[in-house]
């Protein structure tokens, strides 16, 4: 299968690879997918106020999955949380020209963003409660 140039670029030069301190109150972590399905994405955000100031990812999956999560971190960095929640999988499909068989990779990336934000929100509400 031929990959689009953008997928190849993200695969060869993934942006924002790495990990943030998952125990920090300002960090939200989302882990989605399952090893037996061939895709696991871990996406983390660091938030100041309501702005995502940093984002990191690690992905076990095909080139399209790596590219989808790499692109997701690129897009959400610097965005407000509410803006990041607006990103949908079809935006990712369009940007990376993913074929139908790879759409699930973009869905996973969207899930990863939402899951990281949900984790952050839960942590901050728990923090306030204390």
């Amino acid at each position: 299968m031929a990959y689009s140039d953008k997928v190849v670029d993200h695969y060869n030069n993934p942006r924002n690879v790495g990990s943030l301190d998952k125990n920090s109150q300002t960090v939200g972590t989302g882990v989605v997918g399952a090893p037996e399905c061939g895709d696991v994405m871990k996406l983390q955000i660091e938030v100041e106020g309501d702005t995502i100031v940093d984002a990191k990812f690690k992905t076990f999956g095909c080139g399209s999955a790596i590219a989808s999560s790499s692109l997701a971190t690129e897009w959400i960095k610097g965005k407000k949380i509410d803006e990041a929640l607006q990103i949908t999988n079809s935006d990712i499909v369009e940007e990376l020209s993913l074929p139908p068989v790879k759409i699930h990779c973009s869905v996973l990336a969207e899930d990863a963003i939402k899951s990281a934000i949900a984790d952050y929100k839960q942590k901050s509400s728990e923090g306030e409660a204390q």
């Binding site: 695969y11 990990s19 997918g33 399952a34 061939g38």
Partner: protein, 405 residues
């Protein structure tokens, strides 16, 4: 060194120059129809076809009369299995096969199940091997046929064909063998190995694509099959259609070369395979070789690189032509049925690559391939959340994964 490097010898092989040379006159100079009996054009073509039959027979220990030309192994499998079942419908309708067959055998069996046959699918051991005891345990009064792969195309595991064949003959059950990966690579003797029907394909043994043959035993027992295509009654009525003379000449020549070079080819492929595996296993942790280490096809190396997904790894080894143990590149996104049958978890099946070495592979190519593979696995593991978790001491099997995809 030219790139990319071809390491997919179980998918297909290049035509050996000696084979091509033998074939060339039969496209233009000796172009007759081998079934034309009325002129020298036909006689010359027929002579070439009969020579090929002898060459094939010599490689596998068969008489030339027992060789039926086909378009390849898929046709040989369909003709051999369906033809035998149809012929012996009165005796019974039970077939024994295994879970690690090629799709051509599995789908043929499924087709026959729809038509009323009963099929037992034997589960191999973790190395992909099936034992004669398992076959004996599955045999019934109405068992007509045992159909089994000799050397597995994905992991290279070699089945104990001779023992299983002896058992079949003792019980009066026909034995069909998918010899596609085995013939020309390991010693094959249809008499000593007790085989009744066996398919071979030209392009797996440095011959041309689109040509193969089915061995059909003529003595002890005389095996009869029903033709699956109607037509002019070629090949003793078992396979109609004008013979692909250049292709058949190529298949015959490929068999002759394979017979002559069998030991040399095997030693070469085994040495390359061991060299590759030693390098990779030394450099990488959490890496295992699948299949049976003792009974394995010389040039086949199926390796699982834990915590790295196979398709991304294939993308990473961009100068190597290899294939994924998982069929990720197809629309199904299903991990390999062979690895699954061996009890390899889906997670590891997704992390497996088949490297195939053959007659034209060099040490230099193998070293390059090992280095590129090691580099790609290390890079992808830096990207892998699973590898990170394992290094942190987390047990992945205890995690509740969130996935509905």
């Amino acid at each position: 060194m030219d790139l990319p490097i071809y390491l997919d010898y179980q998918a297909t092989t290049p035509v050996d120059p000696r084979v091509l040379e033998a074939m060339l006159p039969y496209f233009t100079e000796v172009f007759g129809n081998a079934a034309s009996r009325s002129h020298p054009f036909g006689w010359d073509a027929e002579g070439a076809v009969e020579k090929a039959r002898k060459q094939i027979g010599s490689l596998i220990g068969a008489s030339p009369k027992e060789i039926i030309f086909t378009s390849g192994s898929t046709e040989g499998i369909n003709l051999g299995i369906k033809g035998a079942i149809e012929m012996h419908a009165a005796k019974g309708n039970h077939i024994i096969t295994t879970l690690v067959e090629h799709k051509a055998v599995l789908d043929t069996c499924k087709h026959l199940e729809k038509q009323g046959c009963e099929v037992t699918y034997l589960v191999p051991d973790t190395t992909g091997r099936v034992s004669a005891e398992q076959v004996a345990g599955a045999m019934r009064e109405d068992t007509v046929l045992v159909a089994m792969i000799w050397a597995n195309n994905e992991i290279g595991t070699i089945n104990p064909i001779r023992e299983i064949g002896a058992l079949c003959h003792e019980r009066g059950v026909l034995f069909f063998v998918d010899g596609t990966q085995a013939a020309g690579k390991i010693p094959v003797d249809v008499s000593a190995d007790n085989i009744d029907l066996m398919c071979i394909s030209g392009h797996k043994i440095y011959g041309p694509k689109g040509v193969g043959c089915l061995y059909v035993r003529r003595r002890n027992p005389r095996v009869r099959i029903v033709a699956q295509m109607d037509g002019g009654g070629h090949e003793r009525g078992m396979r109609s259609g004008t013979i692909n003379v250049p292709g058949v000449v190529g298949l015959g020549s490929a068999c002759a070369v394979a017979e002559q070079d069998l030991e040399k080819d095997a030693a070469h492929s085994i040495a390359l395979r061991e060299r590759f595996e030693a390098k990779v296993l030394e450099a990488l942790d959490y890496t295992t070789v699948n299949g049976n280490h003792e009974h394995r096809l010389p040039g086949c190396s199926n390796v699982s690189f834990c915590y790295v997904e196979g398709e991304s790894l294939i993308m990473g080894v961009k100068d190597l032509a290899v294939s994924s143990g998982s069929a990720c590149t197809s629309a199904s996104l299903e991990p390999s049925h062979v690895l699954r049958a061996c009890g390899v978890g889906d997670e590891l099946a997704h992390s497996s690559i088949r490297f195939g070495f053959g007659r034209m592979t060099t040490e230099e190519q193998v070293d390059f391939a090992a280095d590129q593979t090691i580099g790609a696995v290390k890079r992808l593991r830096e990207l892998s959340p699973l590898y990170e978790m394992v290094l942190e001491g987390i047990d992945l099997s205890k995690i509740q994964w969130q996935s509905d995809h």
